[in-house]
């Protein structure tokens, strides 16, 4: 068979992404129709920049989800097809089996794997880890930053000192120190996970407790239920048979996170949370001087109620914007980890690892490195544009 021309490659790729296009169109139609009822999310559709950013982000989110369901990919991302090593985009397979997709749309990499399918699978890794890790970093940052900003004094000095300590660390050095097999062997990342992942529990617990403290009939069952479920998830997350932290017996353990992913997750959360802490602390210091906080204090509300139900909702604008930016930054960090071959397995299809694989032959074969590079760029760009659009729209109120 003849290799495909560039026009044919583009058409076939666009066709391959069909489920993503359908979902994107559906999402945008619905959102634009109901945009007046959707608050800040709806306002996003008033700004072109925000819409472009949102479209880029959702493109990769849908790609990740459908890719995980094996819908978009043309080949298995790990299987090697003989004769396809470093082949250019659009090369047909030499002996395609029955039902096998007859082309490598974006060519083959140096191990004769399909670059296109690896890119799609790589999106799923980012879509899985980046938002969740950012969310955890926010929980840690908020839980520590609010009291630091609200109370000030010794607590603030101590926590700020610790945050600056982590911030003064060059990120790559920290990764190299945390994500090596020797350190993983000592169990330090698992212990760090144990500490860091408590924060969401504390956050939710305090949040609900401070809200419903006056209605014990609602509060007690609610807290027991929520904390029970979260606690179980927490224990399943941190405990893993064979590692240093295994507290749950196997039959209660809901899911196992591969050790590599857990370490990557922990280090990304660890790197991000001091910055979130500083932002939240600054916002809390600013907002605590407002009149409505004074009113709540006069009313006799407890300090945690004021922090979580008076200060935090009023700090949401900058926090949402920073959340988008930070997901982008986390994506970059994940790529950095992959680029240096830290944490994730060498055959993992995530973008950083693929770029690292491809760069060795970059002078001769461009496509194995360029494809994931452009994918990562467009995703982070989308998040930055989205953040920009959100900032503009939230300033308009």
């Amino acid at each position: 068979m003849e290799p495909l021309s560039w026009f044919e490659i583009i058409t076939r790729v666009l066709l391959q992404f069909m489920p993503v296009w359908i979902s994107l169109i559906a999402l945008f139609t619905l959102s634009i129709v109901y945009k007046r009822r959707l608050g800040l999310y709806g306002k996003l559709f008033d700004s072109t920049i925000g819409m472009i950013g949102f479209a880029l982000v959702m493109f990769w989110v849908f790609t990740g989800i459908f890719g995980a369901l094996d819908m978009i990919i043309t080949h298995d991302p790990l299987s090697q097809v003989s004769g396809m090593k470093n082949k250019l985009p659009g090369t047909p397979l030499t002996r395609p089996d029955e039902g096998q997709y007859p082309y490598y749309l974006f060519g083959g990499d140096n191990l004769a794997r399909d670059v296109f399918s690896r890119m799609v699978k790589g999106a799923w890794i980012v879509v899985q880890i980046a938002p969740l890790a950012t969310l955890f970093a926010f929980m840690v940052g908020i839980t520590l930053g609010l009291p630091a900003g609200y109370y000030g004094g010794r607590l603030d000095t101590l926590l700020s000192f610790l945050a600056n300590l982590i911030l003064a660390f060059p990120v790559i050095l920290l990764f190299y120190l945390l994500v090596t097999p020797e350190i993983v062997e000592t169990g330090i990342p698992s212990y760090m996970a144990t500490v860091l992942f408590v924060f969401p529990l504390v956050f939710v617990g305090v949040l609900l407790n401070s809200r419903y403290k006056t209605q014990p009939k609602v509060r007690t069952p609610l807290l027991i239920a929520v904390l029970g479920i979260l606690g179980w998830l927490y224990l399943s997350l941190i405990s893993e048979a064979g590692s240093k932290v295994s507290v749950l017996p196997g039959f209660l353990d809901l899911f196992d996170i591969p050790a590599g992913i857990l370490v990557v997750f922990v280090s990304v959360v660890f790197v991000n949370s001091p910055t979130v802490f500083r932002i939240v602390r600054g916002l809390a210091m600013d907002i605590k001087t407002r009149d409505y906080v004074a009113a709540a204090q006069t009313r006799g509300e407890g300090p945690w109620y004021i922090m979580l139900w008076e200060i935090l909702p009023n700090a949401r604008g900058p926090l949402i914007v920073d959340f988008c930016l930070r997901i982008g930054y986390t994506t970059i960090l994940l790529g950095t980890l992959g680029f240096f071959g830290l944490g994730l397995s060498p055959e993992s299809p995530d973008w950083g690892t693929t770029i690292n694989d491809g760069r060795r032959l970059l002078q001769i074969y461009l496509h194995p490195a360029i494809v994931p590079a452009v994918a990562l760029l467009s995703m982070v760009l989308g998040l930055n544009l989205l953040a920009d659009g959100l900032r503009e729209e939230s300033l308009r109120d």
Binding site: F169, P170, V171, L362, A369, I370, N384
Partner: protein, 348 residues
């Protein structure tokens, strides 16, 4: 002001001590030491042999004692071998134990010995750092002026077409980490199959003689990522200054737009970017590691990767100390500079 600087320096030293102790602990954990013993001795060492090797070299003392020795405030460990000879960290080959100094640590100028490069850590770091210094100098020369121009141009007329275009450019560069922009730049400008073939894809030859052809791509790659961020800060600060009352007064007085920007707005608009530029140093360090690996430029960042991936404990410690020091000093300069530049902030 003097007291403020003194307090900042105090906090800085405390932070430095905490961080180096942290790095020291992480690099001197038992699995690392075991690996070190096996690479120095042989890979088939039994556990007992590993223990005796570590014992001989003083690695089995408490962490805080080892840290003190490394720092040079605790007398160095000496071990008496079975044949009566004494060996220790401070005793160089050919030196008798009596002549050797009691203390040898970072404070005395002894940084240890690199197991990968077979050389003194101090001299390795000095040569590598000078190579990276060269890279950074050009990065600064390219990044800072272009970022400031970009920011001032887009901030002086907020919302104009030029502002939109330039802002999009700076957002794009902040969204492009070095390993992405480096790959794209190599593909476009240096690939031997397609592309323009203007520059070289490696910077190894730039270590001896840097010229435009072999040095521009790495410099550009690092600059791009930091540039967008500084430009956005400059833009925000410029846009804010341009709405100030005194600018309007100058406008009404009939001062030309160019004069307003250059003579009235610029100075106040550059206060915020100054601190941002200083705080960019830790990020630049990141960029340096990636770019030096990508372009095979054997500078400080490359050394960090080599030391970390080959378990070269003393070199890694040295590299960490230097990078932490750089970060802390730039933070200090940025704090002091901010106060100095902005008369509205008082320190007392």
């Amino acid at each position: 002001m003097g007291l403020f600087i003194l307090r900042r320096v105090g906090v800085m030293i405390l932070t430095g001590l905490c961080l180096t102790f942290l790095v020291f602990t992480l690099t001197n954990l038992y699995p690392n030491l075991e690996k070190l013993a096996k690479t120095q001795g042989n890979f088939r060492m039994s556990d007992a042999e590993v223990t005796s090797y570590l014992e001989r070299n003083g690695y089995l003392q408490p962490m805080i004692v080892k840290y003190g020795e490394w720092l040079g405030v605790v007398p160095s460990y000496r071990h008496e071998n079975s044949d009566g000879t004494i060996q220790g960290r401070c005793i160089q080959p050919g030196q008798s134990p009596e002549e050797a100094p009691q203390f040898c640590g970072v404070l005395q100028g002894y940084w240890g010995f690199s197991t990968v490069f077979k050389d003194e850590v101090g001299s390795i770091i000095a040569t590598r750092l000078s190579l990276t210094g060269k890279l950074m100098l050009w990065v600064m020369l390219l990044m800072v002026p272009s970022a400031l121009i970009l920011g001032v141009l887009s901030g002086m007329r907020e919302g104009s077409k030029m502002d939109r275009t330039l802002s999009t450019i700076s957002i794009t560069t902040t969204a492009t980490p070095e390993y992405v922009s480096g790959v794209i730049l190599i593909a476009v400008f240096a690939s031997s199959t397609v592309g323009l073939k203007w520059f070289k894809g490696t910077a190894t030859s730039a270590m001896e003689s840097a010229n435009f052809e072999n040095f521009f791509l790495p410099v550009l790659t690092i600059s791009l990522y930091g540039m967008g961020y500084i430009a956005r800060m400059t833009r925000a600060s410029m846009a804010e200054v341009m709405t100030a009352q005194y600018i309007r007064t100058a406008r009404l007085k009939g001062v030309s737009f160019g004069n307003i920007v250059v003579k009235h707005a610029l100075r106040n608009a550059l206060i915020a970017p100054f601190t941002v530029i200083m705080l960019q140093f830790p990020w630049l360090l990141n960029g340096v590691v990636i770019v030096e690996t990508l372009f095979n430029y054997k500078g400080f960042g490359w050394t960090l990767v080599q030391a970390a991936s080959n378990n070269d404990i003393e070199l890694l410690l040295g590299v960490s100390v230097v990078s932490v020091f750089v970060v802390l000093v730039t933070q200090l300069i940025s704090d002091i500079g901010y106060v100095y530049l902005n008369p509205r902030i008082s320190v007392s």
